[in-house]
């Protein structure tokens, strides 16, 4: 990471340092996710973020957002596209910022990091240099901690993905992209206008009904461990594939050497018998290179596994503290 920054110092200084979100946007995202959560446990909720970039303070302000339909089918993608255009036209007439600055997505226990997510982040970054993706965790918010994080592809990963849709190990090494610096997290700050603050005062004392004293439940840990195991399985399979690939490369080399050896012996024997030697054939034509294994999936899996580990660690740390509390209370 350190060498990365030395290579491109100017870009880091120009890029945005933090994302400012208004409480209106957060409430809208929350309500959107809540509505969908009532229908099914793992909804794929996504929507568009609108706002503007404040060049002087190097801050991206998100001032508005609207939800999109679940884009599984082609026709819903078409509806989404029309929807976005319509909203852009309409919002202009009520003085709302209409520039798209990114998208938001809900996650279930940090499983959002897959190929689709990467593609979406890449698409938005292509259109706008500073586009971000906001990930909202509804379960964590329900437990009492507002969880809103902003991500974008690091510049190295972005350039690499632009050039090639699937990476090989050499490309990763040359561009210094690892699973750690695939995505770059940008701090999110909540900022309200004065009138909104008045509204908040008017809403009165909000009774926070979440109980912070719940001991760590085994179901949450079980689920996280299951996801961890799933991720490790995927990485294991990728490792097997890589092993196979390396073996086939090695096999190809030995086959080539053996072929050249045989040919040489053949030709020597022909020359001794006085016959014309066999023509030299291009060895590389005969032995095709096996297809190199794409490393993108394993990168994403590694990323996902790390975020699961982070999640479990946080949960366990607070859980141990609460257990000690319970111990002192019971005895």
């Amino acid at each position: 990471m350190a060498t990365n920054q030395q290579q491109q110092p100017t870009e880091d200084m120009d890029s945005i340092q933090c994302v400012e979100v208004t409480s209106q946007v957060i409430m809208k995202i929350t309500r959107n996710c809540q509505d969908e959560l009532d229908k099914q446990l793992d909804p794929h909720v996504s929507g568009v973020l609108l706002g503007l970039i404040n060049e002087n303070k190097r801050v991206l302000e998100v001032t508005h957002c609207f939800p999109l339909m679940n884009s599984d089918t082609d026709e819903s993608m078409e509806i989404n596209r029309e929807h976005m255009l319509e909203m852009e036209r309409s919002l202009r007439s009520v003085n709302i910022d209409y520039q798209q600055v990114g998208f938001y997505q809900s996650t279930y226990l940090n499983t959002h990091c897959d190929r689709n997510f990467l593609d979406s982040v890449f698409d938005y970054l292509e259109e706008m240099n500073e586009a971000i993706a906001i990930i909202y965790d509804p379960l964590k918010t329900k437990l009492g901690h507002l969880s809103l994080r902003a991500f974008k592809l690091s510049s190295a990963a972005f350039n690499l993905y632009k050039a090639e849709k699937d990476f090989t190990a050499e490309m990763l090494r040359d561009n210094l992209v690892t699973y750690e610096n695939l995505f770059q997290e940008i701090p999110v700050v909540v900022k309200n206008s004065s009138l909104t603050n008045v509204l908040l005062c008017e809403l009165g004392h909000v009774q926070d009904t979440t109980s912070y004293f719940t001991l760590p439940t085994s179901s949450y840990l079980e689920k996280s461990m299951q996801l961890l195991l799933g991720g490790l399985d995927e990485i294991n399979q990728d490792l097997l594939k890589i092993n196979k690939y390396q073996k086939s490369v090695y096999k190809k080399q030995t086959d080539m050497m053996k072929y050249i050896q045989d040919r040489k012996e053949e030709n020597d024997r022909m020359i001794r018998e006085g016959l014309k030697p066999l023509p030299e054939e291009d060895v590389n034509e005969l032995f095709k290179d096996p297809a190199p294994v794409g490393r993108l999936e394993s990168l994403l899996s590694a990323n996902r596994i790390t975020s699961h580990c982070d999640m479990i660690e946080e949960h366990v740390k607070s859980g141990i503290g609460k257990l000690y509390l319970a111990d002192s209370f019971m005895s």
């Binding site: 409430m27 809540q34 939800p67 929807h83 009520v94 690892t178 699973y179 999110v188 840990l221 607070s318």
Partner: protein
């Protein structure tokens, strides 16, 4: 304009907090020559209660002589919202500022076409009486039948209610107190806060019990029963069983933490090897 007798009765309005934030935001973005903003409220109606869950601003002009609003705009946007969220339909309209005048009834009649008993929400952005008052009204017909008829705006009780996640967000926003802050996972702090809250509540209850036992306050059977329930809800287990349970739970957590640590180190080593080879 009169309200048809078949209109559904409205006894209460439940407003989702996001609607209020929307209204404040659209008021802040109004054009310079506008004194107030209006917009559509969307939601659903169920058994006498109107649930307002979404809103959007509608462009309109208002002078002393006439008023005009973008009716096509309102219809178009409400259709779009319905496509994305099929459960919502127009249930009323809002305006900033507490004034209700002739123009309000004109606009209200437009909304009556879309929903037979629309609710009119006003949010006092001018902050008269040092407060941002929120009022909800519906219209009821008054007058003499077959004579002079009209309608009157009558207030309807309202309640601002959100889900648990919304309450968490609101609590966080209120904790900001005008500064900027990053939402972060700070469990120990939260636990300390909760402990303090609980201590305060226990002190209150203790004070009450002391006063009752001293005879200063007449006892309340309901409160006594609930206190009894609370005290009895503590499980009556032997201390050995409790220690065993806690220890095994602790061991589980530690084992999990060790495994995650191990996984993370493995991944890091793998990545480094990739760089070197």
């Amino acid at each position: 304009s009169t309200q048809s007798t078949g209109a559904p009765p409205v006894r209460k309005v439940i407003i989702h907090p996001v609607v209020l934030f929307n209204i404040v935001d659209s008021f802040e973005r109004r054009n310079d020559n506008c004194k107030r903003v209006i917009g559509t409220l969307m939601g659903r109606y169920d058994k006498g209660v109107i649930y307002v869950t979404e809103s959007f601003a509608v462009p309109h002009q208002e002078t002393d002589e006439e008023v005009s609003m973008g009716m096509d705009y309102a219809m178009r946007i409400s259709e779009m919202q319905k496509k994305v969220n099929t459960n919502m339909y127009t249930v009323g309209w809002y305006s900033s500022g507490i004034q209700i005048n002739d123009y309000s009834s004109l606009i209200h009649s437009f909304y009556k076409v879309q929903f037979p008993s629309p609710v009119h929400l006003t949010l006092d952005t001018a902050l008269k009486e040092q407060k941002m008052k929120i009022n909800t009204h519906i219209t009821l017909p008054i007058g003499v039948k077959n004579g002079t008829e009209g309608c009157i705006f009558t207030p309807v009780p309202h309640e601002i209610k959100g889900s648990e996640a919304d309450q968490v967000c609101l609590k966080f926003f209120q904790g900001l107190k005008g500064t900027r802050k990053t939402p972060n996972f700070n469990d120990p702090e939260q636990i300390v806060h909760s402990c303090d809250d609980m201590m305060a509540q226990i002190n209150v209850i203790l004070g009450y019990v002391k006063q009752v036992s001293a005879g200063e306050i007449p006892m309340d059977k309901e409160v006594g029963r609930q206190l009894m329930e609370v005290v009895q809800s503590i499980p009556n287990l032997e201390s050995d069983t409790i220690t065993n349970m806690l220890n095994s739970h602790m061991q589980d957590l530690l084992a999990v933490e060790y495994l995650t640590y191990l996984t993370r180190q493995q991944l890091a080593i793998g990545a480094r090897i990739n760089q070197i080879l």
